[in-house]
Symmetry: C2
DNA sequence: AAACAAAGTTACCTAAAAGTAACCTTCTTG
DNA sequence: CAAGAAGGTTACTTTTAGGTAACTTTGTTT
């Protein structure tokens, strides 16, 4: 039982997926609204920079938590929503929330 | 439904308790061994500095996740173990681990 | 033709987290 | 009486995360 057990464990990966200053909040909005646009997210989180918001969204997309949907037209609209995998986080985040509140 | 809902939510607090480069690993060892000494923890995690290990342990103690027990004698021994609250994290971390592995 | 809108990107800067190496205290052991 | 062990602390450096402001592209509106 040593630290190497840890380098590739699921816990580490999972915590990585939600750690990032704004990621829990992104998830919160996507759980609540289902689909949400880039600028709406941005305006909902007044202190986040577009740069960081983009980075967070890209990472979460890569990790399979969320999906990006472009709607052509002008101006271009980009919608984000949770993937099936992302939705599985629901009960886990709820448990964490309860834990943190108790 | 805005970002202020988030500033003091349990989820934020809970994620805070486990975020820190070595915190999940500290929990991992404490869950596995029950009680573990400072230097044993330190030697089990070859790349952590004593400074950061101490900081993490202090924070987790403040947040009520772990307890510190001194055994007088020479050299002095300090044992760390999970509190009751800390043990409640067990199933949640297990769920995260499963999530991260799937 | 200028202004605006969405969804970014870019170059640069600041702040926060973590790392390094030396040092400290209290005793025991060689 | 020097060295070592446990459990740290301290001052300083490096690395990483996040922030800022300006700019870009494609088209629509005024």
């Amino acid at each position: 039982m040593d630290y190497k057990d840890f380098e590739n464990c699921g816990l580490k990966k999972a915590l990585n997926m939600v750690s990032g200053k704004w990621k829990p909040m992104i998830l919160h909005f996507l759980f609540h609204y289902g689909e949400y646009r880039f600028n709406d997210l941005w305006r909902s989180m007044p202190k986040v920079s577009k740069k960081v918001l983009t980075e967070h969204l890209r990472q979460m997309e890569e990790q399979g938590l969320i999906k990006r949907r472009e709607v052509n037209g002008f101006p271009l609209e980009v919608y984000y929503h949770l993937s099936e995998k992302g939705r599985e986080l629901g009960p886990i985040l709820a448990a964490l929330d309860e834990f943190g509140n108790s």
